[in-house]
Structure formats: C-alpha cells, structure tokens
C-alpha cells in the first residue's frame, strides 16, 4: 500500500511541475487544468497513504495512545506507517480536503514517534516530529528543540546512508519559504550521495529521499527557467556563479599573432 501511495505521489509531482510550467508560459487555462489533475491525484495519494496508516492502527493500536510492543525490525514498519498518516493528511489538504482526514492525526503521529529510537531509524522519527512542529504556532511541545532535533536527524541520515531526514527537512523548509535552506540542503544531499552509499537494506527509502529532493530542485528550476533540473545537475542552480578556474596550461597564450586563416 505504501509503495502504491508513493507511485501516486510521484504522478502528482509531475502534474505540479506541469502547473508551474504552464503558469510560467502564460497558458492559464492549461495551468488550471494541471492543478485540478494534481488535486485529484493528491486525493488518490491520500487515500492510499491513509489505508497504510489505518493498517498500522489495526496492527499496533491507535497511534499516540500507547507504545506498542514490537518485534525486532518492526520499528521501521511502524515509523513508515506513522509517516504515511502525515502524508495522507498533507495530500488530502493538497487535494482540497475531499477525504476530510482529521488534523488530530498530526498530534497522534507526533506522540507515536516518541515510541521509537530515532537514531536507530536514521533520525527519521525526529525529522518527522520537527517538521510537524514547525507547522504549529509556537513550534511544538515545550522543552523540545525542533530545529536542533532536525539538524541532528539529518546528520544521522548522512552517516547511515538513509537520508529521508533531509528530504523531510527540505519539505518543511520549503513550506516555510526558506529557499536558501532548501538550496543548501539539495547541495549537501548531492555531496552526501557521492561520499556515503545507500544503506543496503533500505535503498528504496534512500532513493525515494533523492526523488523528493529532486522534485524540490525541479520546482525551483521550473519557476526560474521553465525546465526542470538538468540531467546530472542535482545540487546545482541556474544562477550559480561561474568560477573562472585557474588554468595552469595556457594553450591560448601564444596564438595572438597567428590570426585566422
């Protein structure tokens, strides 16, 4: 269920990019149509994520009420199930609230994540919590440092090769309009990919984190240039200053007098 929701979400991303592209082009009717298609796709995505979240509830009890007993390895399932609740809510909202997924899910998930050892799960539980809190006036529960927790979660992800924490952080920064933070995180991600390979058993999640970041990068590129991130260009931006690299070999130095034939 989770992977089918992820597929549906990727299709919604394409429609979002199409909306941005057409708006930029000045094709307003086309843009409106793309937006409606995106909203429908978001609703479908929300349905699928919601089912995944419900399954977690059926298997482990209502999240946030008590911490379930879990066998070894089930924590990953529980964490991704909880994150499905957040994705269901957000996608429903993007889709115009057709399903009416209650806001209370967010606090349920936030409490449920406290049942997990964040460091053992690549920092993901803390990253999700921080992102949830950043959307609340006051920034979440008293005594908890959301932004600090997020930075640590990203470091854990980088160290272990499962970088969903950064993807979650970028979505949160993008929501709050911090474009510089988004751009820096995309650059950092590129650097991390080059130095730390994906965690062998959790490659799907790590690859999905890159897909999420790729989408954020594509949105920025599309707004600015009308096309998505160039192939191999993740971590670069259209307005990067071209640094004149020092050229030790001066092949042009002695051509002055030769002229054209």
């Amino acid at each position: 269920m989770l992977s089918s929701a992820m597929c549906a979400e990727l299709a919604a991303y394409e429609m979002e990019l199409e909306y941005v592209r057409l708006m930029r082009k000045g094709d307003i009717t086309g843009a409106k149509d793309a937006r409606i298609r995106q909203q429908r796709q978001n609703t479908l995505t929300a349905q699928r994520y919601w089912r995944a979240y419900e399954h977690i509830g059926q298997a482990y009890g209502e999240p946030g009420t008590m911490c379930p007993e879990m066998e070894e390895g089930e924590e990953t399932l529980y964490a991704t199930g909880l994150s499905a609740g957040v994705q269901a809510f957000l996608n429903d909202r993007l889709g115009g609230g057709e399903l009416g997924i209650p806001l209370a899910v967010m606090s349920q998930v936030s409490r449920g994540l406290d049942c997990l050892d964040s460091d053992a799960l690549w920092g993901m539980p803390h990253a999700i919590q921080s992102a949830l809190w950043s959307g609340l006036p006051g920034g979440g529960p008293e005594g908890r440092d959301g932004p600090g927790q997020l930075v640590k979660a990203i470091q854990v992800g980088d160290r272990t090769g499962q970088r969903m924490s950064r993807a979650i952080a970028v979505q949160s920064w993008s929501a709050s309009g911090d474009v510089q933070a988004v751009r820096q995180a995309i650059r950092d991600h590129r650097e991390s990919l080059e130095t730390v390979p994906s965690a062998p058993d959790f490659e799907l999640l790590d690859v999905f984190s890159t897909t999420l970041l790729q989408h954020q990068s594509d949105l920025l590129w599309m707004e600015a240039t009308g096309h998505r991130t160039p192939t191999g260009g993740l971590g670069t931006f259209w307005d990067d200053s071209v640094v004149e690299e020092e050229n030790d070999d001066d092949f042009l130095g002695d051509l002055d007098e030769e002229g054209q034939e």
Binding site: K25, I28, A31, R35, L94, G135, P137, G138, A175, G177
Partner: protein
C-alpha cells in the same frame, strides 16, 4: 533609427510576454506555511489572478507579524493575514471581527457578500491600504478549564490568555474583570494547556492542532457561543492594482466562503461532545449585552469602525428583528 525602432519593438514584446511580465509579490501568512490551507487557496487565487492579467509571486510566512511588517515596508504588494492583524491597515474591514457581532456563519457570509459588492468598494479603501478580499477563518470559541466558567460573571477574576496585539480583546478582558495573561499565537495554547491561564480563545482548528483539549482536561469545556468570527483578509497597497482587479478579487474571495467555512465546521464537529458547554438563552442575552457595550466603547475609541458596526447590526436584525437593538439602533 532602425535599431532604435527594433529596440522598442523588443521591449514591447518582452513586456507582453506573460513569462517575463513584471510580477507582484503576494505574501501569505499561514501557520503551516506552503502546506497550509490558506496558502493552497492563495495558490488558486494566483492562478485566477493570472487570467485577469496580474502575475503574482507567492511568499509563505509562518509568522504573521513578519508578514505584516514586510507588507508595511513595501516588500509585499499584497498580504493575506487574519482580520485582527488587518485592522491596523483597514479599520473598516478589520471591524468585521467585532466581538459578538456575528454569531453565525450565515450572518458572516451575508456580511462578506455586502462588503465585497462594488457598491461597498469605497468603504474597503483607505488612502494607503485596500482590502481586496475576505474569507472566513472560523468562529472564535472560548475554552475554559472549568465548566462553571459558563457566564460573563464567572469570567471575572479568571486568568485569560490574550493576544497582546489585539486592543479590542485587551479592552474586553478588563471590561469583564478578568486577569490578562499576555500571549501570542505561538504561546497561548501552552499557557492554557499548562494551567497558566484558565481561559483561552481560538477557532476550533486550534482545539485539534494545538491540543487545547489538554487544557480543558476532565473539568473544562468549550462554550458554544462564538466570541467573534475570525477572518482572512487580503490587503494591498492602494493604487498598486487597478480598481477592476481589486473588485474582481473581492468577488473571488467571497466565492471561496463555503470552501473555508467547511473546514471550520468540520473542526467544530470533531470537538468531543462531552466538551461542549451549552449556555442558556438568558446567558446568551447577557453575553450579547456585554459584547454590545464593548463594541460601542471600542467604536468610540476608534478601534472599531462605526459604519461596519452599523452594517453588522442590520445583518443581525435581518436574521432576528425581535432583538432589542433593532429598535434602539445604538450601533
């Protein structure tokens, strides 16, 4: 000469190309930023505005004060924020949130329709700022940590978490003899949930998002008589946009009424049944009297706009002509 003409042609062509046309900045306050309901509706607005020939670039703000400051400083051509904050830019539209003035969504819808009509356009504009649209943000409810705080008299002496930039609320707190606990949007829920305030006020969405049910505990509840109607208002600098555009814009916002109201109703319907405190008709009348006294006082202090209060009184009297105020017409 030919080069000059060619240059002019290129400039004209650049100006009419939609992708290159000069954009106006639309700043949007939403506690959830670009993931929030308000921002998403603003995105639809942006699309619609493009079809009216106006290119808007959106910027999310999770802090309302910063959004208001940036708008004031000219960094935003338009800003979408709550009516309480909007009152500093436009007293007329900001007074739509006057205390106790509109107990129902039906009345609020009528009020927004009235002020969004072209006949009311001159009222929506001051020399510096114009209100280019209003949408509902939810009935403001009173949350108490003890069910016995169910009438005006019982509020006296209780600690009430109050938004410190809201002059009207500060006056009311003093008027009813409550003790003011200064708060902002980020702190009021914590104050209430941690028992540092006995009373808080907010739309039903805060009950869920900020877990106000924690502060309600086993003894408290939510009073089922709205204090006011919270709104989202779209403010622009007068003269930045054409009168045709701002009029179209007000019409568009009015059309979103049901979409926004649905969210508020949904949040209200999800408040636990046991938490609702139903107050008697007699107590409602006492609340009404207290609200009216407060409104008049705030009108005289030039916090509320008198024309708006008059319109709101007419709307209340249209719904129920037997109200005493319909004969006395003091507002």
């Amino acid at each position: 000469m030919r080069r000059v003409i060619q240059g002019v042609c290129v400039l004209v062509a650049l100006a009419v190309l939609p992708g290159i046309a000069q954009a106006n900045t639309l700043c949007v306050y939403d506690p959830s930023g670009a993931n929030g309901e308000v921002y998403l509706v603003a995105k639809d607005y942006r699309t619609e505005a493009a079809s009216w020939g106006v290119n808007l670039v959106m910027k999310p703000y999770t802090d309302e004060q910063t959004a208001a400051q940036d708008f004031k400083a000219g960094k935003c051509d338009g800003v979408l924020l709550t009516g309480t904050r909007a009152r500093m830019f436009n007293r007329f539209s900001g007074s739509l949130e006057a205390m106790g003035a509109l107990p129902t969504y039906k009345q609020l819808k009528k009020a927004i329709k009235t002020i969004s009509s072209s006949k009311a356009a001159r009222l929506m504009k001051s020399s510096r700022y114009e209100c280019a649209g209003v949408a509902p943000a939810g009935a403001v409810l009173l949350y108490v940590n003890d069910k016995s705080i169910n009438n005006v008299e019982a509020i006296a002496g209780k600690r009430l978490a109050t938004l410190d930039y809201d002059k009207a609320a500060k006056y009311m707190v003093r008027h009813v003899g409550a003790s003011l606990v200064p708060a902002d949007v980020g702190t009021f829920a914590g104050l209430f949930n941690n028992r540092n305030a006995d009373i808080a006020y907010a739309p039903a969405t805060a009950y869920h998002a900020l877990e106000l049910y924690k502060g309600i505990g086993s003894k408290g509840g939510v009073i089922d008589y709205p204090l006011a109607q919270m709104t989202f208002q779209f403010m622009v600098h007068t003269g930045t946009f054409t009168p045709e555009f701002t009029q179209q814009s007000r019409g568009w916002f009015y059309k979103t009424f049901d979409r926004f109201a649905k969210l508020s109703r949904q949040a209200e319907s999800r408040i636990k049944k046991k938490h609702w405190i139903t107050i008697t008709d007699e107590d409602k009348k006492r609340y009404d009297k207290m609200f009216q006294e407060t409104r008049i006082k705030l009108r005289d202090q030039k916090i509320y706009n008198k024309t708006m209060l008059k319109i709101l009184r007419k709307i209340r009297c249209k719904t129920d002509a037997t109200r005493a105020e319909c004969a006395t017409k003091v507002e």
